[in-house]
Symmetry: C2
Subunit: 248 residues, 2 copies
């Protein structure tokens, strides 16, 4: 996300409505912690025993997100928040159903850009999800594209994907270095190509084949996007090979 | 994915190495079923009891993916497959560590485009993941960008995200209709705008404000990308309001 992009200026929360299984709430809390979302809202939650599955599945979220979760009614949720409801299945076409249109999770960051509001992503119960009247009271409907033959994800897994997609909104600093893949400069790569040409010469690669082999090497290396270290190491090895072959 | 894009022409599998918890294998199997990946490879798996957690967490994957899973050694895995290893943490910079460079999950479909090979996405043990020597024997390293302060995802949740990102490679038909959000045509939207102008006239909206209000309405509606049904319904309501107001 470039610094010139409109930023999301609100707060991001997760709401879980009427879940049966404490373990799923723990899984959701862990995903929140993994993607820097801290406010957990619970509508009609099951009891969350500190020695039970919710805390067992929550990882480090057991320290803050779970004990800090707040309970509220569904009406309070839709009144106080801009609500993004999640659902596994959508209706056939845009004429048949009031819930249409929907967004996919990858569209959510764009939807939030430039927005200044308290936003809650709302997850429903296991198996049946959110009821139709609940979906109808939410502002946006979001659905994860999945297999047509088995599109119903487990609650905790669905929440993990949606929170992952919202990372550009919520996560300010990831564990990754600035560039996960630092590519060598063109000059470094050119030096590697030159060294390869010299190597072909030194090992006596047949003259008519040289141009073709040089091109093959360029294509292969170009496709691999070498790091500076890879380009330097490979150049060094080829240089040694060139010198040794010339000594023969 | 357009039909002109280079397609992945190989097979896609998931490998789980030395997992402790049967439940995690069940969670991974369910995500595979949700995203149309069917071959599950297990290296040193725990016993998978048909009445235990693996089958309990697998949803419909209990019918085929779990009973069809095959066991193999890590060496067989790296010999027979193009392996994409997953890891939570990457090293500081490209000079310090042989495992660099890495990819993020959203880059995997591009990496597989045009490739014809048996590919396995490899997930490691709970807590410690894959060992360094295992990472070193894999072809590609993939890491999910997450919170810098807590980047370690649960095994089943990490696999869910990676399989979600590979959906364009594996899922041929999602549960969604062709367009999840069918936008009204410009002509339909223009008719709505015209109706709004007539409505402003009929209700006697002050002349000097009309142009500004018309623009405000166009901006609001434009931002909402109305469906054909929404545009038609709103136009019909405004038409009734226009006729009634003219009758007054």
């Amino acid at each position: 996300m470039g610094t010139d992009d409109p930023q999301f200026g609100g707060t991001l929360s997760v709401a879980v409505v009427d879940a049966d299984t404490p373990g799923n709430i723990g899984t959701i809390a862990r995903a929140m912690k993994n993607f820097d979302v801290s406010e957990l809202l619970l509508v009609d939650p099951p009891p969350l025993d500190p020695d039970g599955e919710a805390y067992g599945f929550a990882g480090q979220a057991r320290e803050d997100i779970l004990p800090g979760a707040s309970e509220l009614s569904f009406e309070e949720l839709t009144t106080e928040y801009h609500t993004i409801a999640t659902t596994a299945t959508t209706n056939e076409d845009s004429t048949s159903h009031v819930r249409y249109p929907g967004m996919t999770p990858d569209e959510l960051p764009g939807h939030l850009d430039g927005l200044s509001a308290d936003v809650a992503v709302v997850f429903g119960r296991e198996r049946v999800g959110l009821h139709n009247d609940e979906l109808a009271s939410c502002d946006v409907i979001c659905s994860i594209p999945a297999s047509g033959s088995y599109p119903v994800l487990n609650l905790g897994q669905a929440a993990t994907i949606v929170l992952y997609e919202l990372r550009s909104v919520a996560v300010t600093r990831t564990q990754h270095p600035e560039t996960l893949h630092e590519r060598a400069t063109e000059a470094e790569i050119d030096r590697l190509y030159d060294q390869f040409d010299q190597f072909l010469d030194a090992v006596g690669h047949p003259e008519p084949k040289r141009k073709k082999s040089a091109r093959l090497f360029r294509r292969l290396v170009g496709r691999a996007h070498p790091t500076p270290r890879e380009a330097r190491t490979l150049q060094g090895i080829l240089r040694r090979g060139t010198v040794r072959s010339e000594d023969e």
